[in-house]
Subunit: 92 residues, 10 copies
């Protein structure tokens, strides 16, 4: 079951450079681990913004929430989730 997720990152500008670098490194590892497991099949930047659109694969809403609320940057992000359903024109 797939969810489209938009994340807008609001890192405070006065965070120390090392601290920001550290949290971003943990975030990247967390993300790539889920990508490799097939749970986070797509991620892209929103052009010109510190935001992304992602697709998550989850068995249920609880698993989806667990993955998102476990994001190291979760406390710094606005997240909105759209449950995806099959489109009748989809050829796949």
């Amino acid at each position: 079951m797939l969810f489209l997720v938009r994340m807008d990152v609001n890192l405070t500008v006065d965070m120390a450079v090392e601290e920001a670098a550290a949290i971003k490194a943990v975030e990247k590892a967390y993300s790539q681990d889920l990508q490799q497991k097939g749970k986070w099949p797509h991620i892209c930047r929103v052009g010109g913004e510190y935001s992304n659109y992602s697709v998550f694969e989850a068995e249920c809403n609880d698993e989806m929430h667990q993955m998102l609320s476990g994001l190291p940057l979760f406390p710094y992000m606005d997240i909105s989730v759209t449950p995806r359903a099959k489109h009748p024109s989809d050829i796949n």
Copy 2:
């Protein structure tokens, strides 16, 4: 180059049933033709709404606009386009 597109369909409720069926059939053919050509690689329903999120592949903004403004349902839709860029955490 990829674009994320959201389309919200506002078919007037007093359109004749046959007219609506006809325009939807043309829309479906138009969509599946672009899907088969690889120009419209993803389409999904927004759960609970008469809307979709789609991904379009275009050489440039003009080609993207041409595909969208050519949609048979274009006069009945609100469309918003997000230019996608590569995300630094993307493993692909």
Copy 3:
């Protein structure tokens, strides 16, 4: 898996009285059928508005979308869906 759904009904005021009564009767039967099957466990009015908040039980996003897009009043409603997850303070 549960979804919280808000529906705002926009029946056009110039719809014939009998037509409105007919579509509402079909809507009610559709709703009560799903309630009896346990797929629509809660429904309530928003005080002062022609709207409701409902809870749907579905195996997946596709089943949820199928139930909502099958509503007789679907063409006349604005619908927004919130995927529910378990809250850590929930005692149930």
Copy 4:
């Protein structure tokens, strides 16, 4: 009498870890006490967000406000209240 309540938590990211843990523990106890008394019959997470939808049972608006404004996290939350009324299609 039932109220649907949405709470969005905005804990400041620079709050000390122990302070945050302490206030969340008090919040949880407060919530579970009201749940056990039957005054807070439902609580769920909004998937992907630090928010919840809850249902409160109160004799009157004053009791409802007292329960909500007494929440330990009240100063950190945006709260919106929807008075629920019986829906004519409800089978219960």
Copy 5:
């Protein structure tokens, strides 16, 4: 128990003059009947708009909804309800 209610009237401009006069007369009688019974203690115009703010007295949310949904102009109005609670600085 008191509710603050805002009503914005959207009478279609192409409604026949007599029809509009008739529905407004019924609305006025309905309103004044509830005022005389003490259930609608305050009503005022929003300066410059075809809108009002009103205060309703009801035993519960269901009674409040019944009064509002029974308004002859209900199908032509946007209504929003605010449950009122006692303010600690109120001297009454």
Copy 6:
């Protein structure tokens, strides 16, 4: 001449407890003084929020602004003012 006023209080959560208590005490005295003079005939809480709806009686816009801008909590509030006019259905 009456004005309906909504006030949303945004006290910063890191204000010292004594400071907050002090400013609230001054606010309460200021409010009750105007209530006793008949200039602030109504005040109520918005259920579930740190907000109020109030009615002010003033000779003119300047007097109204003077009363509101003199509120001890004025720098911490979002305020919106609605000029009230007589409603043709009002029985008073």
Copy 7:
């Protein structure tokens, strides 16, 4: 006492040309009569829009509402009213 008023005109595009011309002529006469009486001291177009900002002089909110609700175009306009007060830096 002065009020700043914004009016956005929404004449339906399918109104007959003569009907539109007639209602605009009555509106103009109504406006110029109030201007000559000093009750409508300023009126200007919003550049690029079918809207105006105006200043009205009224003894009280009721007089202000009477002038605005009496506008021939009132049923076709969105109107918002801002009560003006004296600014401490004003040299007049």
Copy 8:
């Protein structure tokens, strides 16, 4: 003096095809005439929408408003105007 203008076209979908073609042809001629005179130096489509961003050159606000309100599609458009000023980093 330059103005940035956004125009969103809302042609009603039930307008006859010939009528729509006729008004668009007049609009195009009007636009190209102003372009050739140097008063409308830039026009572009918003990708995926029936909208444009344009730059107008005018001696004053009145001339700008005259050009925009004279557009054949003016009654069918939402227009917003941004007065442009010189940017200190501009190398031209």
Copy 9:
């Protein structure tokens, strides 16, 4: 050429009292200087808010921007500018 300008002041509540008094005094002198030169012909308070509506007279957009961006409180304000044009019903 005239511009209608709305300014919303957001002075941080923890600014030292003397600092706030100093910046407001400079602002007042700056404003009254422009008023005496006829460049800032109107200024009024928005009733109940720390905001003003003003009218500026400028030869061009650049002069308008220069006056506004030179305001001592400019970094603390949200400003929106409406280019004014002559209204056809204006008797002046």
Copy 10:
């Protein structure tokens, strides 16, 4: 390929004067370098605001995002990007 970009700058008012001057100088150099290379063909101030509208020329969305996310003021700005397409009335 062209993009219209709006940038709203939110420099924190308590940033030290030298720090602000330094970051603005780097920003200016960065901008003028891209202007001279023809990648940033237009930039203008929004009258009365600390904002600009700019046009960027990029081969693809990735290049556009790289230029924008490389802005020294990027962490202090809200940015929105509009992909531009050719308008059928454009005479160029």
